[in-house]
Symmetry: C2
Subunit: 273 residues, 2 copies
């Protein structure tokens, strides 16, 4: 290549949480984003402004001279938009960013295609440091896989190749570690709020719980009444949740699941407080 | 007081995860632990050695000249041991360390009693920095509450008074944020392991999920297919779990609970990836 990789002209299709965070990371790393498309004018304008790009709300006006098209829209929007995105844009490399969608959805639609999946939780209100985010890439040719690795390596120190099959398990595991873990925080926040206690007191516990699994396996790190099978404490907790049937159901199922997994592994040598 | 508070002679009853971490924190802060009791000789000896104390495995041999007795044993062992612990030791202040046990369990058993509850997850394999751990204290007299606050303040920067009623909700919330969140990591680890993927790739996501709720509420931080009510992705995930009925049950219940809570709060303006 006789140009810097950052000179690759990029078009972003989508301006949601992931698209916004990813486009900004590209921009900060010196890449040249030439255009942003979003159906929603406000989102398109906001992101385009942040990355010094032009924008459009018409898919037919997406430029045809980009080297890389990053399509980061909801899963069903991807299917719907795809024919319009590829029309007349056969030369560029087109990637989607979804954990759960196989690469082959792009097959026969365009010549060069792939996946660029940064595994992280993105909210517009919060900027994340891409350096430590694992990015999983895949494409239909060795050259483009190599190109995607090179591009990803400028954004992050953790770049992996992953097949569509591996990626869908990564995405499923991510739902557990991120979405479901966060929901546990949310249920705790509800409980505390109801009893006029501040959620902040939980932060050191949340941090240590996350920190701990850098050193111990989650099975080793497990503590609490369920793994000790402390019926006494568990029954008291269930009584306290008498007016919250959903919380009670979650408490019961997860306690059973903890105990079951510990017995299956018989590797948990931590006690709970 | 004409002596340093660290000169208070302390006896530890118990040598489990919490007792071990707490006794070491006392020791490192310059407190004088004069004796450790545990039914298990190896545990008693190990902890006593670590904090330069003597030890006993006979409850009748627990010394009667301590100013503070810290009882940190399993909840049912506390009830069982209590009569023997207090016999002949009416002068010292006796505290338990359990989140879920009301202070009044000690009432009429001894004159000076209270609770010293550090809200954290403790494993023997991992030493924690007490400075940031919230410690909740309570006692049956203003003087002893003051003493416990002073003692706790030497170990931690986050000392609160909490009633038994508040403490049991804190403990219940801690089960959600810590034990249940860790179980989500454990289920993810199982899934990844089954498909030959390393758990380490999840760590940046785990860290960011924890980090995020320092800035956003858990409801605002929520992302994932469930909050978007992305049936397509959720159905695919459930299909992938066809041979893991327990995982499937957890996935279903938590997805429903996420969606329900979001609709109740209608405050979730984050999307999921």
């Amino acid at each position: 290549m006789d140009t810097f990789i950052q000179d690759t002209p990029i078009v972003f299709i989508g301006a949601g949480n992931l698209a916004t965070n990813l486009a900004k990371a590209f921009y900060r790393s010196g890449f040249r984003i030439i255009q942003v498309y979003s159906r929603t004018q406000a989102s398109a304008a906001a992101l385009a402004g942040a990355v010094e790009a032009t924008y459009t709300t018409e898919i037919s006006e997406v430029r045809d001279d980009a080297a890389l098209y990053v399509v980061s829209v909801k899963d069903d929007a991807l299917i719907e938009l795809l024919p319009d995105i590829v029309r007349g844009r056969k030369r560029g490399l087109l990637v989607h960013t979804a954990g759960s969608i196989p690469m082959n959805i792009l097959k026969d639609k365009t010549e060069r295609y792939g996946v660029f999946y940064p595994m992280q939780t993105f909210s517009k209100q919060r900027e994340v440091d891409f350096k430590s985010i694992p990015i999983f890439v895949e494409s239909n040719s060795a050259e483009d896989t190599c190109l995607l690795r090179a591009v990803a390596s400028i954004l992050s120190e953790k770049v992996y190749e992953a097949t569509s099959e591996q990626r869908r398990y990564l995405h499923l595991a991510a739902v557990f570690t991120c979405n479901f873990a966060n929901h546990m925080y949310a249920l705790a926040a509800e409980l505390l709020n109801k009893h006029n206690l501040p959620f902040e007191v939980m932060l050191p516990l949340i941090d240590e719980t996350a920190e701990k699994v850098h050193q111990l396996t989650p099975a080793q790190a497990q503590t609490g009444p369920a793994i000790r099978f402390d019926r006494n404490v568990m029954d008291k907790h269930l009584d306290m949740l008498f007016d919250e049937p959903r919380f009670k159901e979650v408490y019961k199922l997860l306690s059973e699941s903890i105990y079951e997994l510990a017995n299956k592994n018989s590797s948990a040598n931590s006690t709970t407080k």
